[in-house]
């Protein structure tokens, strides 16, 4: 990157600086012996030209819209289009959630993102024994398309994109969305959105589990195939690192495991469905965490773009540039927030959001200050949304593309993270792939190690969290609490029972039989799911078919 003359000059100047450093330290020691990121990656006191001298400008850095896309996919950057302001949202009943969604849209949000409650996430109906006490508490309760249509009431499906955080039952919730569009006369090739639908990270981290890995990946392939053929504007997988990071992974682990998960899906779809990589890869999307260490996150996101581009072109022989792009949503880190002094969370979220923007995210959710304790209040979620809007409209960070490119520190850190991520990726390759690695507990144990180490570092004050182990206060400020009370569950059960009374049970039974046969024959389940949900089959009724055919996977409790 630099001429030998410059490097020689720099070497002399650096030596002078290092000598001065030694003198100062002799009298005024550093405040602590190690200076690390939140992931415990050691950072140097200073970065200079020598730290990036081996970078090849053309091959490694380049320009936006040019392989390997370090500086971004979009040639006009945020000037052309800001990232989507997409707030993850769901609470209580479909009707209540719909109200919150309209509030967010009226407040300037530009995309929808669905948070479901645990029964829905786990493929249970509200009246299941397993669902007792859980209805609506951390997201919206959806049992049938009757609820779903209330959820999207007044939402123009051909004008706005909707993300749904849903994994084992993804086929079913997506079927509800597709069916709802069809019922409204909106053709499937006009609707856009994302289903998270990433089971590998469930086994690794988020743990919404249902069927074993093999059939889970098969169902994902079904959605990719269906989307490729019929719903071209839909991102059928949101290959996620957010949850991996929340489980305690380091930034490098988040990067490596997410990208290796993506590679596993690519290989599976090619093998199982016989599709060419460029037929479906442009619709793969990603989802990363924006944690509190500012520069580590920016470097991580840049490294992610470069790794994926290389994997797609070199490893999978992709020829279409759109397959090389890494498009991602980001969420600020829930695990970085504190229940103590919760207003401090506004600052944390703002810094994290800024990192996501400087990392070039296509879409962003910012946590509300109260989400450590409950679903966000209107007031708190407004502040979170305004955070994004202030970044976009007031701070000037959108004026120029990838502003930190060329920084000795950022380029060195990006390189380092990419290198470490490839190490992990190759180790998982050697294990036979991600499914095999999960079976032997490899990513899970790496994450457990990192989580345990971090907690010990917090407890020993080696790492600081304000309000937890420094600047604590005795009297905590009270903040308003969103409560989902038990009447929500009662009313939802009544609604579900009413739907079941009114529907044509024989037709439902036939639809479920069709799904079962499709599963047994290895056919694509999506068309049958769409028919079933139109007939008011419930989430659990369809999931029980999957459980019956594919078996039930139980969390092995690896720690």
């Amino acid at each position: 990157m630099f001429t030998q003359e410059l490097l020689d000059k720099s070497s002399i100047m650096r030596k002078k600086w290092e000598d001065e450093v030694k003198k100062v330290i002799a009298k005024n020691a550093d405040q602590k012996p190690r200076w690390t990121t939140v992931s415990d990656l050691e950072i140097r006191r200073l970065y200079g030209p020598e730290d990036i001298q081996n970078i090849d400008f053309e091959k490694d850095i380049g320009y936006p819209g040019q392989y390997p896309f370090l500086r971004g996919n979009q040639v006009t950057g945020y000037r052309g289009k800001y990232w989507t302001f997409r707030m993850f949202s769901g609470m209580g009943s479909a009707e209540e959630t719909n109200k919150r969604w309209h509030y967010l849209l009226n407040s300037g949000q530009t995309g929808l993102s669905t948070a479901f409650d645990f029964p829905t996430l786990m493929g249970y109906d509200t009246d299941a024994h397993e669902a007792r006490g859980e209805c609506g508490k951390c997201g919206v309760a959806i049992d049938t398309i009757d609820d779903f249509q209330k959820l999207i009431d007044g939402i123009p499906l051909d004008k706005i994109t909707t993300s749904m955080t849903i994994n084992p039952p993804a086929t079913i919730l997506w079927a509800m969305y597709c069916a709802s569009a069809q019922l409204r006369g909106v053709p499937l090739d006009k609707i856009g959105g994302t289903i998270q639908n990433d089971m590998l990270k469930e086994f690794i981290a988020q743990k919404t589990l249902m069927c074993p890995p093999e059939p889970s990946v098969k169902l994902i392939s079904d959605t990719v195939e269906f989307g490729t053929k019929f719903v071209p504007r839909w991102n059928t997988i949101s290959i996620s690192g957010y949850h991996i990071r929340e489980a305690g992974a380091t930034a490098v682990q988040e990067l490596a495991f997410t990208l290796r998960d993506g590679m596993e899906y690519v290989e599976d779809v090619i093998r199982r469905k016989g599709l060419h990589v460029d037929e479906f890869a442009p619709r793969l999307s990603f989802f990363f965490n924006a944690h509190i260490d500012f520069f580590e996150e920016i470097a991580k996101l840049r490294a992610a773009r470069r790794i994926w581009a290389k994997a797609m072109r070199e490893r999978y022989g992709s020829k279409d540039e759109r397959s090389w792009w890494m498009r991602f949503h980001t969420q600020t880190a829930g695990c970085s927030l504190t229940a103590q002094q919760p207003y401090n969370n506004v600052i944390r979220t703002a810094v994290e959001a800024l990192a996501a923007v400087l990392g070039g995210t296509q879409s962003l959710h910012t946590n509300s200050l109260d989400e450590v304790l409950c679903l966000p209040s209107e007031h708190a979620v407004q502040i979170a949304l305004r955070t994004q809007q202030i970044l976009a409209e007031e701070t000037g960070v959108v004026n120029t593309i990838d502003p930190l490119a060329g920084s000795y520190f950022i380029e060195a850190l990006t390189n380092e993270m990419e290198e470490q991520a490839w190490d992990y990726i190759h180790r998982i390759d050697d294990m036979g792939g991600m499914v095999k690695a999960i079976e032997r507990g490899f990513p899970q144990l790496e994450i457990s190690d990192a989580a345990y180490k971090y907690q010990r570092q917090i407890d020993s004050c080696e790492k600081i969290m304000i309000g937890i182990n420094k600047y604590n206060v005795d009297e905590e400020v009270e903040i308003p609490f969103v409560e989902i009370d038990d009447t929500v569950e009662k009313e939802q059960v009544e609604r579900l029972q009413a739907v079941k009374r009114k529907r044509d049970s024989r037709h439902v039974a036939e639809c479920l039989k069709d799904i079962k046969q499709a599963c047994e024959k290895g056919e694509n389940v999506m068309p049958y799911c769409i028919e079933a949900v139109k007939a008011y089959a419930s989430v659990q009724e369809i999931c029980d078919v999957y459980r019956e055919v594919y078996g039930v996977y139980r969390d092995p409790g690896i720690y």
């Binding site: 007792r132 929340e246 457990s448 720690y559």
Partner: protein, 134 residues
Amino acid sequence: MSSGKIRILLAKPGLDGHDRGAKVLARTFRDAGYEVIYTGCHQTPEMIAAAAIQEDVDVVGLSCLSGAHNYLYPAVVNLLREQGADDIEVIGGGIIPDKDMQGLYDAGLKALFTPGATLDSIVDWINANITPRK
């Protein structure tokens, strides 16, 4: 006076899959010299009570972050009592609003550890309050 190890069943009741805290505690308790049985996620109260009795533990630790604790935690306590195992103490952690804590204590939970609790403070409490029954 018993000189045996404390046996603890760590469980995640309900559908919540956020197991980072439970897993960190499993290691902490192992390092503290307890015999640890970790059930993994998605345990019903019935499964937890049955496991606690079968494994003959001294204490059950529950972890739930989904907001369903008001139903799930007392359910575990009640099932243990019904099956004559009320000498097994039940403690809990997770996302538990202050206003819910007294209700859980009234239902029979002996201790609740919420965000910010240090690992040592939990071990100290258990060492001070739980006697190995064997």
